[in-house]
């Protein structure tokens, strides 16, 4: 999975540059979809909420101007992690300051594998 981080970089672009990046980004996603390498993808609205704690408190966030804020994602279908990294390196936003986080999708929930590991250890 590719997570696109950073929202603020957009503001420094002229309207021509913005149009160019948008077109490039759309063409990139379309190509990956046609090649069967991208199976899902979406931009996210810049505002959202955070739910946390035992009392399930709702607060504003993430802050749109944060460099770390996630602006969108692609779910890829590739044979190796290196393939995903190579695709991430083609991201048209990179020259403007976008960061792409590349993460393998887990075969099972990490909480469940943690438990399995502990059980094995206890039985050893």
């Amino acid at each position: 999975m590719l997570l696109f981080r950073g929202n603020d970089w957009l503001k420094s672009l002229s309207s021509e540059e913005k149009q160019k990046v948008t077109d490039q980004w759309m063409a990139w996603f379309r190509r990956l979809t046609d090649e069967g390498k991208a199976i899902a993808g979406n931009p996210l609205e810049r505002e959202g909420k955070i739910v946390s704690g035992k009392n399930r408190v709702v607060s504003d966030g993430p802050f749109a101007e944060s460099k770390e804020a996630i602006g969108g994602y692609f779910l890829l279908d590739v044979a190796s992690f290196d393939d995903a990294v190579a695709i991430a390196q083609e991201c048209p936003g990179l020259p403007y300051g976008v960061q792409v986080e590349v993460r393998p999708v887990a075969a099972e929930c990490p909480v469940a594998s943690e438990l399995k590991h502990e059980t094995q250890f206890a039985n050893a």
């Binding site: 959202g48 996630i70 999708v105």
Partner: protein, 128 residues
């Protein structure tokens, strides 16, 4: 979309607590799916790299798994309003133990397009 933010709080749980949580999570998700509210979600491995710089020349390790901000998994919901998504996030069994859930609307339109339109409109106004 729900983004699960995690600092590996689940490493502090006992085996019984973990078992209970996994079962709660499973039935929570089954309930949502049965009502057509959730599409298949995935967990993410705790490793990864971040790519930045022109032509993607910087490849660095991260995010660090122990960061509170690291994304541990996601779930795409099929709901009408953000309030409904928030209400669903609030029923997530894991919240009792730690971590947080970021609730974000999927955009109808790419923010790049919206910003390009805004700029075009500003330029038009200047030229009047």
């Amino acid at each position: 979309m729900l983004l699960y933010r995690t600092d590996e709080w689940y490493n502090k749980l006992s085996q019984e607590e973990l078992h209970e949580l996994i079962n709660q999570n499973k039935s929570w998700f089954e309930r949502l799916t049965a009502r057509g509210k959730a599409k298949p979600g995935r967990a993410l491995e705790r490793t990864g790299v971040t790519i930045s710089g022109k032509n993607g020349r910087f490849v660095t390790d991260g995010p660090f798994a122990e960061s509170k901000e690291a994304v541990g998994g996601y779930l795409v919901l099929d709901v009408e309003t953000i309030e409904e998504a928030i209400a669903i996030a609030q029923t997530s069994p894991g919240l009792a133990y730690g971590g947080s859930i970021e609730v974000r609307p999927l955009a109808e339109e790419c923010p790049l397009d919206i910003r390009a339109r805004e700029l075009a409109r500003e330029e038009e106004l200047v030229n009047i």
